[in-house]
Subunit: 468 residues, 2 copies
């Protein structure tokens, strides 16, 4: 606790700087490093006028499309991102080899309320789900509000039935990520839990925030030793239709038929591009997103945006003549959605090769207007980052909060203790879109996307220059 | 300058409170009034779960539609908002009578590059524009980047020509409102300026931020003693087409034909609803938006949203049993777009009736995720508002900046010295939409809209309770 008094004073000083940044343009530029102000302005200007992240994302979404691990789309995306980084002549471009789960959605997915006119429901198999028997499953339904209901109901009530998880996301939460986090256990753990009690299949209300009928997929996790049962997500309106039908007739039967399958693990790759540092080339700063997506929509927000932003950060450094002191890496992680094999491989290789990772940042929360960053690091680092808030313009980055990272960079933190940063954009629209057909390029706003790129590039510029 | 030292300390204390609000949930609720925390949480919860602002806006946009002053839509909107407030049994509901400009777009608007295949351009007459002669105008074009070019070119080069204002909005500005503000003089003042030098008509590049071909209208202001010439906005892609055609052939002729007209001023109304204060009924807090819109799209963001938010703030107070100390008014101002007659009438009546207006707030910047408020008031008031920042959750309200109001409430400030507040949502999408067919209900996100309502209601709750 030495220097506590000084730290409080310093804290007040930084907070004061922070406040000034909000309320006075004059104050904003006084006391700041003029060179840094100029560089960061250049980063924002170039991002907003070139719209290059948006152009890259257009290609990824509209020429390649969705990119589930093991799919042709994923292979094409690997090839194309490597080619793009080659065309930019980054200092080093290479792939990291790995094997990924290889789940294929079948061509026939059908859920309907038997005997009900217009009883068809909008459905998507959950990622990694097993198939139903060829003739499908026709069984009674038990509606529950969460996995805790399963144990309460017990084997007698669950056995032989289709379990319907129907707890909506909590609309009261301002962070829709928190709302999603509070409901997603029904998808990830629900099917295994229901199977434990003898259920024959599971349908869930889509984990999303919109009241439309577009189903949202996402991974479900089977548990070893427990039977794998088929599981699917219903559109929210379809879930409402089912719950209403069950009120009228608790003995109704649901028909479910899907022909998805899991093939042998497939070879795939992380793709890495580097600008090599000219002072501390062995100190690595990672910026990444995941190149794989679900097999619906175009994986625009989740997470084509994060990948294109990562490439564009390096491109901005190059275009603006910013020579990094440290080595900056753009990493296209493979297989975030159903295995995290890319993130794990990246961390393993980092450890094996004794790499020195200063910090890693992931953008995987959508291409919306930036709000802040979440940071997992020493308190002194977070304090230092907060002292940089005056460099960010009003309405882009308002805060650095404690705690943050990303699914693909968290293994780096676990294995090497690397500090991590999660980019936090506005969350209101993300879970209307996420893991569904709605996640398409036309839902991305060019300026919002580019403000994200510029915010990340500016933070990386400051970290590269001043360290943690 | 007395108590300067104390003020600095107090300032640091408030800024410190502010910071804590960002970075620690624990800190966020300690030191705050628990009752206020509870009430504000209730406001957000009710807004996000009832989605009542969104339901009201749905009706206004989809059942009534756009609402230019003097139109049937505007009359219907007056009638309907009065009816809605009556159905809520607000304490007092009444109309303020006024006369509004009565401009009508004709049924034929046409601009094309003569002799060019596919030479048709997407066009909308500017609001208040005069008609062309029946047979239209066919003349050569002078392209300029702004009104300052007109004087430089001089009468010789302008006389008898169609002037084409083509300066784009500055994409580098993070606030698109500033970008709009920096380009809009071409629309408001361009036609009168060009007419001064003998131009026969004006076309402008739409003042917007998107690169589509949807033209954006908006008011142009003729100057007394200078000939009124027809003026229209081109879609951005049409403007690009014209500039390219002019490069190939500087002598090309443009054909322009419009049959808009200005009829006699029409009777119309502001609509006012009140909850009467139970301690200081004579102290009035105004919350408003403008009920009129342009005659394209549905006037969803501009400014159906602000009107419905204003009604819903009173409705929230009612539903949650918040008894205001002061009188809270929801005001639907008429004629913001082409005359401000409603705002002027409201201020005149306030003055005439010796009303005591504590403060007025306007929401007229779109239904997007809230960012902050701009405040025109004593420094001590702004300081007090900043001390309330911890009551607002992360990602809703991040700042109170100095300076803010709204076109409809500014007359109240000018005539009575009433402090004013402008609600500031995220601006990235607003000027893609503004004054065009794009401003439709389906561009509004329900959660973003409701977060705006809740932010305004929470601020009004604190102002009502604690004063300025």
């Amino acid at each position: 606790m030495k220097n506590a008094k000084f730290n409080i004073l310093k804290g007040l000083f930084f907070t004061y700087l922070f406040i000034l940044s909000f309320f006075s343009i004059k104050a904003q530029t006084s006391g700041l490093n003029k060179e840094d102000v100029k560089v960061i302005k250049g980063i924002y200007d170039e991002s907003l006028t070139s719209r290059n992240t948006y152009k890259l994302l257009d290609h990824l979404c509209n020429k390649i499309g969705h990119r589930l691990s093991g799919s042709i789309g994923a292979s094409k995306a690997v090839e194309w991102t490597e080619m793009i980084m080659n065309s930019y002549s980054f200092d080093k471009i290479y792939k990291q080899d790995l094997f990924v789960p290889n789940w294929k959605r079948g061509d026939k997915e059908e859920v309907k309320i038997i005997g009900q006119k217009d009883g068809e429901l909008n459905v998507l198999a959950l990622g990694m789900s097993v198939s139903t028997p060829k003739k499908g499953i026709s069984e009674k339904v038990v509606e529950v509000q969460g996995i805790e209901d399963i144990e309460v109901l017990g084997r007698d009530k669950i056995k032989g039935k289709i379990v319907f998880f129907n707890r909506p996301t909590d609309q009261r939460l301002i962070s829709t990520g928190s709302a999603y986090g509070g409901a997603v256990d029904q998808r990830t753990a629900g099917p295994a839990e229901a199977a434990k009690y003898g259920a024959v299949a599971v349908v869930i209300r889509s984990i999303g925030t919109a009241f439309d009928d577009v189903p949202h997929t996402g991974v479900t996790r089977y548990v070893e030793g427990i039977k794998k049962i088929p599981a699917a997500a219903l559109g929210v309106k379809s879930a409402d239709k089912l719950t209403l039908a069950l009120k009228n007739n608790p003995n109704l039967k649901l028909f479910i038929k899907m022909n998805c399958e899991t093939l042998e693990d497939a070879p795939s790759h992380n793709v890495v591009g580097e600008l090599i540092g000219n002072e501390f080339p062995n100190e690595i700063i990672t910026i990444g997103g995941h190149l794989d997506s679900w097999d619906v929509g175009q994986g625009a927000h989740d997470d084509g945006a994060g990948c294109m932003q990562s490439i564009q950060v390096l491109r901005l450094f190059q275009k603006l003549g910013i020579k990094p002191k440290r080595t900056i890496r753009a990493v296209m992680f493979m297989n975030e959605e159903n295995g995290t094999r890319g993130g794990l491989k990246y961390a393993e290789l980092a450890k094996k090769n004794n790499e020195n990772h200063l910090i890693a940042l992931e953008s995987d929360a959508g291409a919306f207007t930036p709000r802040g960053f979440g940071v997992t690091a020493e308190a002194s680092t977070i304090k230092k980052f907060r002292s940089w808030l005056p460099y960010f313009e009003l309405n882009t980055i308002s805060y650095f909060k404690k705690g943050g990272g990303g699914v693909d960079i968290n293994p780096l933190n676990r294995l090497l203790g690397t500090p991590t940063i999660g980019f936090i954009p506005d969350s209101q629209r993300m879970f209307d879109i996420h893991h569904s057909d709605n996640d398409s390029f036309d839902s991305v706003h060019p300026r919002e996307l580019e403000l994200g790129t510029a915010s990340i590039a500016s933070l990386i510029y400051l970290i590269d220059k001043y360290g943690l």
